[in-house]
Symmetry: C2
Subunit: 168 residues, 2 copies
């Protein structure tokens, strides 16, 4: 997780400076975004927690993603990322909600290619969803690590820091 450490520290510091809290809903990253955030001492001041909704049905049962949407388009979809981010913000009573969904590989999933990733960031003003193609990042492990970095960067961007969410 060392490559995400600096970004995670920046997220914790930025949220702390603004008095904001964060909750996270993870699919393809499977806990690594929250793992990176909680590596930072004092993360508990800003980080509330959140669910790893790995099985598709848990996106509906644990968060409030529409089962019809999940059935029609599958879990790797911008509207699913949007719903996950909004739901985790509300259900976990945080100021900012962050969500990841995508295909880490090694195989295609629900008709979507390896490397297709969506990151959603929700706050009181609404939700921003980033679509990124991480196929060039490498294997399953590399795609997940890059998705963690992008998810953390998306929070910084939403807070008005660190220019853009770039594709690695």
């Amino acid at each position: 997780m060392t490559e995400s450490r600096a970004t995670a520290e920046a997220v914790v510091a930025a949220l702390g400076a603004r008095g904001l809290t964060l909750a996270v809903a993870e699919s393809l990253t499977g806990g690594l975004v929250m793992g990176a955030l909680t590596e930072v001492p004092g993360a508990s001041v800003v980080f509330r927690g959140g669910p790893v909704v790995y099985a598709t049905d848990t996106k509906a049962s644990v968060l409030d993603v529409d089962p019809v949407l999940l059935e029609a388009r599958g879990p790797v979809d911008p509207d699913v990322a949007d719903a996950m981010a909004r739901s985790v913000r509300r259900r976990w009573r945080a100021d900012v909600g962050l969500a990841t969904t995508g295909v880490a590989g090694p195989s295609r999933q629900s008709g979507k290619p390896v490397g297709e990733v969506y990151v959603g960031v929700a706050d009181a003003a609404g939700t921003v969803v980033h679509r990124v193609d991480l196929a060039a990042a490498g294997d399953r492990s590399a795609i997940r690590r890059e998705a963690v970095e992008l998810a953390l960067a998306a929070v910084l961007e939403r807070l008005g820091l660190a220019g853009e969410v770039s594709v690695g």
Copy 2:
């Protein structure tokens, strides 16, 4: 996460061979147990997901840990680990529930010393809670990594594999 990779692969293989599913509730490990499990290709066959209940109040609101217990003894407690494991198994509809709670440091928490860690494993037969002292493992990061390894080993032990949960 490389040190946990082999253990995570063994957990996924053992659950798969038995046709069992797993859900995980994490506190001090903050997502790293689930991050290790989902690093394994094909983990979705056995791994359903689970919550990182980092803020103490989320252990009551997202799982079913008794708020009176949390208030009286704090989140680092064997009965809290027991309740977390049972609750995540039931709420996330898995055959096996795994839970971690403890003090990663750098400071004491709720009167408990750095390195005091509880791991709970719940299945249809009941719950086993392991108490381990990881103070000698090193800093916050090392304590968390060791706790991840112990949590995964506790599942293997519960499945009748891999002798014992040893303290590193």
